[in-house]
Subunit: 461 residues, 2 copies
Amino acid sequence: MDLNPILSRVDADLPAAMDRLLELLRIPSISTDPAFAEDCARAADWLVADLQSIGFAASARPTPGHPMVVAHYDGPPDNSGPHILFYGHYDVQPVDPLDLWDRAPFDPAVEETAKGPVIRGRGSADDKGQLMTFIEAFRAWKAEKGSLPFKITVFLEGEEESGSPSLIPFMRDNAAELRADLAMICDTGLFESKVPAIVTMLRGLLGEEITIHGPNKDLHSGMYGGAAINPIRVLNKVLASLHDETGRIAIPGFYDGVRELSDEMRSQWQSLAFDHAAFLGDVGLSVPAGEQDRTPLEMLWSRPTAEVNGIWGGYIGAGSKTVLPAEAHAKLTFRLVPGQDPLDLREKFRAHVRAQLPADVTVEFHAHGASPAGEMTVDHPAFQATRAALSEEWGRPAAFVGCGGSIPIAGYFKTELGMDALLTGFGHDDDQIHSPNEKYAVESFHKGIRSWVRVLARLAG
Amino acid sequence: MDLNPILSRVDADLPAAMDRLLELLRIPSISTDPAFAEDCARAADWLVADLQSIGFAASARPTPGHPMVVAHYDGPPDNSGPHILFYGHYDVQPVDPLDLWDRAPFDPAVEETAKGPVIRGRGSADDKGQLMTFIEAFRAWKAEKGSLPFKITVFLEGEEESGSPSLIPFMRDNAAELRADLAMICDTGLFESKVPAIVTMLRGLLGEEITIHGPNKDLHSGMYGGAAINPIRVLNKVLASLHDETGRIAIPGFYDGVRELSDEMRSQWQSLAFDHAAFLGDVGLSVPAGEQDRTPLEMLWSRPTAEVNGIWGGYIGAGSKTVLPAEAHAKLTFRLVPGQDPLDLREKFRAHVRAQLPADVTVEFHAHGASPAGEMTVDHPAFQATRAALSEEWGRPAAFVGCGGSIPIAGYFKTELGMDALLTGFGHDDDQIHSPNEKYAVESFHKGIRSWVRVLARLAG
């Protein structure tokens, strides 16, 4: 199929596409703040109308929280071709601290920068700008060809930035309607801001909070110091025991089930020539701090971690206070990789802590969230098709990459709907998502749209 | 000398002595709160007038803070006998939380309790009730004998509960006037609330605050976790390294100069039959947590400690946050014993921390206070005389004890005025000093006065 007419239309229509995106960005759809509930509904309605204008059967579907946008486009009468679901989210992060913004967050505009023009405004990269890349691709394709090449479902969430409380119930209640051959999730970025990337490994997450209890009240360190156990001291010992001297996690059984990287992935990642000096240098560091026998990308993508995210106990005000506190606390998260069972690891962590407690000390555990790691089946034909399409558009081979963080939606498509998911997107590392002055490169938007046109063509076969 | 007439007078005068104490307790001389400055001055004036009524040349001496009460009683014309200074403090702790008091803190009264009558009110035990024991002893002695047996100086401070900012300058400016053969400090308690005690060892104190710096900003643990160093992890390792598995402090050189207990002290302390099970049991503990080869009393009185009094870093709010913080903090204090130099130990601690820092991590130290341990020269004749007097009054041998905390005044008499100091007092462990419902046993007050009568007699020779 000759894609040039469609791609040319994308190029010609870019100014209008930008105007549409700016219109959507002007709606302050902050999902976590109830004061913006009407704006969230307005953003959903705007998307419904836009999708209807392209020929989708679209509606905003109520939930206990913000609405879901669901839109269907029927494929050819013979039902040939795949059925692909496209996911994005129309809600955005809060904007504080407002005084750090160089312009009003919901008064978006195109700005010239040293790296080229960008669309500045809350939600431009996360995720309105990204979800509009596939919608604009549908629009251009439809305008040029009269119809889309196969059956498409669009599923846009409005609670991604506020914990997605309605997502799983909605998926379950509408499973038959939502189920497709594959979910395309457009909420990630380019690798090192330049290489098109498909995320194939996502780390899981396990959260724990522990409280070490010692004496039954705060004690004076003069009167009791030396004879009374100090819970902070116990907490330090316990937490210091989580890693050995080589950076390896020392909880017995922690690595059970962890697999080595496949040769294909290892060679893929090596070819990325990851600049870890620049990556760490940006945040004032120089030496990778993980397991000494692993590469930096392994540390970030395919190896589990144990981190203390918060610690507190005793007197933390100004000056000095000679207190032996009754208790000490820490919040931890573990990043998990494929093969690790979060609930099993929770028990192993707790057993490891309990085994180290001296007399007179008790521990209290509080469970935070647990989600397993995700690993995509890259031999799915759509992965190779998408990879080829991205490589073509960006002029360099698209990479299969890992992601150190957790993107729960990918797992939910699998567990709730039995679908594989493919994560790709066009964000830059410096897009300031979740921060003031969020932006999205015009190039990301433009080439993102063109990328989806190519993906549609490849998937249509 | 037949002391019975004086002791009988003490007994007979007890109701009037209690009334005087209650009057003093009604003055809310909270030194730390400027709103009570006039009350502090009023308490000083009350004491001046009372001492004048016994024949002292007394005055309230202005300082940049609250006044000092200084009073002199000249000894016999032939200057025979010692010159003894008596120290106490007329200021009191704040009273909050007020709602935990069973009566208004400055509306004192005698209350019957299961353990006998007590004087309830702020300052009753710390230190107004105690300082009035020696003043009442002077009164009774003078009333019975016409004059006091030797030269006496009374020195009462009004800033003990607020860091004594004026104390050292005042001592220096008035050194010649204040210098005596010995200072009697009445601000301590009975051992285990029953054995009369003279404190002969006081631990010193060294305070340090450390901040571990890692990345130049807070990082997301998904994006950076595994490759970026976590300052909390470093802090845990450093703090966990302060003690070895036997409870011994592992800072190189930390025990340099620490002396073993003398045979006399060891046998003294053994004879006390310290009930450490009850001591620890009161606060929910059972096993002494210090060096495993030391007795509980050594842990508390004659061995140094290293304690983390406060620790904080990262996210400490509700729920979970996947942050790798830019820094982590801890406040520490070390209890020191004779032979240890605080400033030398500060450097040893800092070197120990620095030696453990991995790449990319820096540490910032902030010094809190440093004061050496104190050890009294118990072969001073006054110690034996006082001990004999106390043993006589209380019907059981008075003990030479240690004190795990720091009482800086004793050291100041030595360093500023070249005087030895003797610490004794009649408080109970459950007097609730610094807490709501402070009390002082009527027995402590009564037998305290009688004790001082006996001490005066012994010191007069």
